[in-house]
């Protein structure tokens, strides 16, 4: 029964994220076609930019969700130090997400390989702070159901970041270790 409840909660979290369509749209790297682009604008670059906006939106949804859950579970952290370290990690990760968002807002018509690399830099740094946050405290939550809920959100968050990685790297590029966790 405990396993069933955990599974049910995991599925409920997945259903409630509101990310599904966005992630799918983002994952279809080579299957979005842009029509009627103005002269001088590269269709494929706009297509990647468009998909990246969906993935960044998904990143923000799950990041905010994870932050809210961390605050709700304040008393479940092993110590105040672990709680604050987790929030610091999440804060840095949210800062990078916000910077990535502003970066994308500026570049819809020029999302070339240089710009894609710039977005990837935000992604890599954000991943490091997400890992720091999970290692600092989120992974130490004892309650199995709450832990399952956190793990489900982190999994979707990683999926959105993986999508950004896929969009900004050529096919066949190995995933960074932090995304293979």
């Amino acid at each position: 029964m405990k396993i069933f409840n955990t599974t049910k909660k995991w599925l409920a979290v997945l259903c409630s994220t509101g990310l599904i369509a966005v992630l799918l749209m983002s994952a279809s790297c080579h299957k979005v076609t842009i029509t009627n682009a103005p002269p001088g604008v590269v269709n494929t670059e706009v297509a990647i930019w468009y998909q990246a906006t969906g993935a960044v939106k998904a990143w923000s949804d799950t990041s905010f969700q994870l932050t809210k859950i961390a605050v709700e579970l304040h008393s479940d952290f092993p110590s105040e130090k672990a709680y604050q370290a987790t929030l610091t990690g999440l804060g840095k990760e949210n800062q990078l997400g916000l910077q990535a968002t502003y970066f994308l807002q500026k570049s819809p018509n020029a999302f070339n390989s240089v710009a894609q690399s710039g977005l990837s830099d935000y992604l890599n740094q954000g991943l490091q702070f997400l890992t720091f946050a999970t290692d600092s405290g989120l992974s130490q939550i004892k309650d199995a159901n709450k832990k399952a809920e956190i793990d489900a959100i982190v999994a979707v968050l990683r999926a959105s970041l993986t999508t950004i990685f896929a969009l900004t790297h050529s096919t066949g590029t190995p995933l960074p270790a932090v995304l293979r966790k």
């Binding site: 799918l24 979005v32 009627n36 297509a47 468009y50 906006t53 939106k57 929030l87 819809p108 896929a166």
Partner: protein, 91 residues
């Protein structure tokens, strides 16, 4: 609907498609209908793509800002200085 029905309904509605784009997207989650859309591809007009993308970014900025605001409220309770909330670039 009993608990078993709930699981069956969810299981019928959700499809996890792995390895969609080689090994780059290891986990994609969506309804069956959305996975079908993925397989068929998507064509979108430029103006709509830009407006939709910018709208998504506006919502993303709000989410990240709300998360940072929440974190800073918690830091204030603990007597810690706030984290910087990056401002949008000037146009």
């Amino acid at each position: 609907m009993n608990q078993t029905d709930f699981v069956n309904t969810i299981a019928g509605d959700i499809q996890i498609a792995s390895m969609v784009e080689g090994n780059l997207v290891p986990l994609i989650i969506g309804t069956v209908k959305e996975v079908q859309v993925l397989r068929q591809g998507q064509t979108i007009e430029y103006t709509l793509a830009i407006s939709t993308g910018q709208e998504q970014l506006t919502q993303a900025a709000q989410n990240f800002t709300d998360a940072l605001t929440l974190i800073n409220q918690e830091r204030a309770k603990a007597g810690l200085p706030p984290l910087d909330i990056p401002a949008p670039p000037t146009k």
